[in-house]
Amino acid sequence: MNWLMMARWSPYVVGIGIGLLSCLAFLLSDKPIGCSTAFARTSGMLERMVRGNKVLEKPYYRKFVPEIDWEWMLVLGVFIGSFLSAKLSGTFAIQWIPNAWAQVAGDSVLVRWSVALMGGIVMGCGARWAGGCTSGHGISGTLQLAVSGWIAAVCFFVGGIATAMLLFKVILA
């Protein structure tokens, strides 16, 4: 079982595995893999704790009811699976800021966390605006040859590349 303890697998082995998982999700659950609705539902659940049941009347939460569903369990699974993989390979470590960020932007935790928070807000809004994320559109949408998936996936990377280039080659350089 040495391979379970390896820190990295070939990206092609990983990709083929994810492709097979997509087939399994269609076969066993009649669903494509996706991750971003879990965040929308959780956000609704948290808001409901603060503001009560009137949150459920919001048109968005009528469409995406704040409850634990298949996709929510999938994201919980991603957390568990990644933890197992990191523990088995010994790569689990508390890391306050990523290395690639620290090399260019310095090692202030507050700066990285604030920037990441802004990025997270924009991405969370964008994911539900577009109706999916890198999994739901980028993998599941494109593999179904959905027009929405291909357009969204291209826009994800156009926006992502332009922003990363601007951030790393202009603003932080």
Binding site: M6, G15, I18, G19, L20, S22, C23, L24, L27, L28, S29, D30, C35, S36, A40, S43, P59, Y60, E71, W72, L74, G77, F79, I80, G81, S82, F83, A86, W96, I97, P98, R112, W113, A116, L117, M118, G119, G120, I121, M123, G124, C125, G126, A127, W129, G131, C133, S135, L143, Q144, L145, A146, G149, A152, A153, F157, G160, I161, T163, A164
Partner: protein, 185 residues
């Protein structure tokens, strides 16, 4: 048989969890839960993310369409519009470039101990998704319905059998991956 499995709610949650565990395990082993790898892709210095995504698409595309052809499943393409897919996609991309994780990999990054993925990523995603829910009624009318094209697929658009698109797309992606390997990325 499959319909009875699909109808059992508790079992479905368990299947979702198991598929998620395998998905998270693979993402972490592939390096896709690491900020440096994702940023490397967006800056064209590391092609790991593209290699993972494109090989997943080739295998999944052939597999899912084969399952459809033998009647074991059906496609569930999402609806889209220019206002939703293009503007939302670009907005997602901007956030993606700033955060350096996506909604799936951010959960995996937290699980390997990366704190910026939690305090920036997860908290931000929850706030962003909540914000979208708050503006949804107005946004839906003003933007999301603009340039609506529905849940159409490329083969439907071209009015051809699915396989007429699946095979050339699979060949083109495989060719692109060979080219990426050959040029040494």
């Amino acid at each position: 048989m499959l319909k009875t499995i699909h109808a059992r709610k508790g079992l479905q949650l368990l299947i979702g969890l198991c598929i998620g565990i395998a998905f998270g395990f693979l993402l972490q082993k592939g390096g896709a839960t690491t900020y440096d790898v994702i940023l490397g892709q967006l800056l064209f210095t590391d092609f790991t993310v593209v290699k993972i995504m494109l090989s997943a698409v080739v295998v999944g595309m052939i597999g899912v369409h084969a399952l459809c052809s033998i009647g074991l499943t059906q496609l569930h393409p999402k609806p889209g519009s220019l206002g939703s897919s293009v503007l939302g996609g670009l907005l997602f991309g901007i956030g993606f470039g700033i955060l350096g994780y996506c909604p799936g990999t951010v959960a995996g990054a937290v699980a390997q101990g990366w704190l910026d993925a939690f305090f920036g990523g997860v908290v931000g995603l929850l706030l962003g998704a909540g914000l979208l829910a708050a503006i949804y009624p107005k946004l839906d009318k003003a933007v999301l319905r603009k340039g609506d094209f529905g849940d159409i697929t490329l083969p439907e658009l071209l009015k051809v059998n699915d396989w007429v698109v699946v095979i050339p797309v699979a060949l083109m992606i495989s060719g692109l991956l060979f080219w990426i390997e050959k040029t040494g990325f």
